[in-house]
Subunit: 341 residues, 2 copies
């Protein structure tokens, strides 16, 4: 475990850049005072924000660049325009050089993935990276991956996802042997792609010490907390995540409409307001902000581009925890023992 | 439009069989008195239920069989054991012979799909069938397909889904030219499988009279009502549907817990109770019960196996509407004009 956690921030990433990144980092610093920040981006913008958040000053160092990857840049464009110069690249580069323990960016996902992969390379035994995130369930939290980094992939890719996801669950939830399920559809005999069934056989046969494979999980099993780690390839993972987010937002809209319709329901809402706050808190998508790029020789965390300071702070927290509990070493250990087959 | 709508019911289908199917049919009959039922299954069980629901008697005819497909049967088993004899097969057979306009079963999906496909065959121009259902959104309802009938499939399969889904949306929502979106993930340059991009190009190039292709829709776009018809292959469609259902159930649990925690929140709940009823009604999964098997030479509706009488009634309603508004003819017309390429 490092003495202090050194976090490289892409201060220009996201829909608004420094005015969310710096205040967000300040919130996270309050929760984890043993953090140091490297701030990559436009010095004037950053200093303006640091003036408003003086707690950040002693914990930060600014590395100026006026080049930023745009949200609409394609990965190839971003690499062409921003390689070696952009705030996103420089944050990743700090991880590569060992000057930072983790990079956090709210910049565009495709560009971040491309740069991280290009510059950090994948771990031995890992062909393709993944994005993992924490999904709140009825039973607690689960790790779900891949949320869109890699589309498709064979049985060995799914096994690698299971290993990496388990390492993350061990680190985050402090579990000895997290349960792992493979996302699948429930209909008999047409129950999913060949590679999912093959991955199931592999996981059963390997009987890994660090994870407990529990079988197939259907889409509604994620919210039930059917397993600590839910594994799927990036297309279906992204669809599942966004369908769930969309449903949560939809219900929220319906609920607000229903409760504001009559004076009686408005009064009821006022009385139960504390309960609703608790609920909102529980379902707050900001709290699940922070997708971890897994499978790389370095830790990179992706924040939603459209989040606010509070949401960005959660992404910084995720980065902090990954370093503090030494995720990368644990993944490597598991891969060397089990996953590199 | 037929004089009366003749519905063949698999009276033994579902987790409990006749004690849900007959009461459910009675509810639907009350809403659509111009319905006739053919009831396939164990005569004693059915008559016991008819005695409790006398309105059903004059509208029903019983065709006895004591063979029923079990919920755990694999499709191949079901075909072997239940072909020509089971209540499920006989209901489909009634559609094949023109004795019924639609078959409704709460029996197991794989078996129903296999029997329907084996016995009814697919429409000209359609290789593989689909399951479509109505998805409640913020903007109204959308048709989403395929929810798990066919995994994978090329661009032409996706175009056929678009055509069939549009026909269903035209029938159900009374739209001239429904909007159609292809479900995809949002990351640039890795934005989805090749076949989805190819389907997008095809749909744009075809510029069909009966549907308005509006582009890619992400998972959270379904709940927003981003298009009247959302098209995806069966694996991701099933995952999206179940992830959304799971999230709705999860929020419901959280909400109930939150509102029962303090006396103040309980009082608030009592006052706003009407609003919550309205909400529950709006989100009631029973109301979305009834997946339509599309692409076959006959209409078959699949009900959830675990639903109650009220839920089964919605599936019967869906069958009624598909016949009443002549879905099959409309799909055929569209396929002949556009989709059979």
């Amino acid at each position: 475990m490092p003495q202090r956690v050194r976090i490289a921030l892409d201060a220009m990433g996201g829909d608004v850049g420094a005015s969310v990144v710096i205040p967000g980092a300040a919130i996270s610093l309050f929760r984890h005072p043993d953090t140091e920040f490297l701030l990559f981006g436009d010095r004037a913008c950053i200093e303006e924000q640091l003036a408003k958040h003086p707690s950040m000053k002693p914990a930060s160092r600014i590395i100026h660049t006026d080049i930023a990857v745009r949200m609409e840049d394609k990965p190839s464009q971003a690499l062409r325009r921003g390689r070696k110069t952009s705030s996103m690249w420089l944050a990743i580069d700090a991880v590569k050089k060992g000057e930072a323990d983790v990079a956090v960016s709210a910049g565009n996902t495709g560009a971040l993935m491309a740069m991280a992969r290009f510059h950090l390379h994948t771990l031995p035994g890992i062909d393709r990276p993944a994005i993992a995130a924490v999904w709140p369930t009825i039973r607690g939290d689960s790790v779900v991956l891949d949320l869109g980094a890699t589309i498709g992939g064979d049985a060995h890719h799914l096994v690698a996802l299971a290993v990496m996801g388990s390492a993350m669950a061990r680190v985050l939830f402090n579990l000895e042997r997290p349960t792992v399920g493979l996302l699948n559809i429930g209909v008999e005999e047409i129950k999913g792609h060949e590679e999912i069934r093959e991955a199931a056989e592999l996981l059963r046969a390997m009987n890994l010490r660090e994870l407990d494979y529990v079988g197939f999980v259907e889409g509604d099993g994620i919210g039930k907390g059917a397993a600590d780690v839910i594994v799927t390839e990036g297309f279906s993972g992204n669809i599942a995540l966004k369908a769930a987010e969309g449903t949560a937002r939809q219900i929220n809209t319906f609920l607000r409409d229903a409760l504001s319709r009559t004076w009686l329901s408005r009064l009821g809402y006022l009385l139960a307001r504390q309960a609703f706050r608790g609920l909102r808190d529980k379902l707050d998508p900001k709290k699940s902000n922070g997708g971890v790029l897994l499978g790389l020789r370095g830790v990179v965390v992706k924040s939603h581009g459209g989040t606010d300071a509070e949401g960005f702070a959660y992404a910084v927290d995720v980065g902090y925890e990954m370093v503090h509990y030494d995720l990368l070493t644990k993944i490597n250990q598991m891969l060397n023992r089990d996953g590199g087959r």
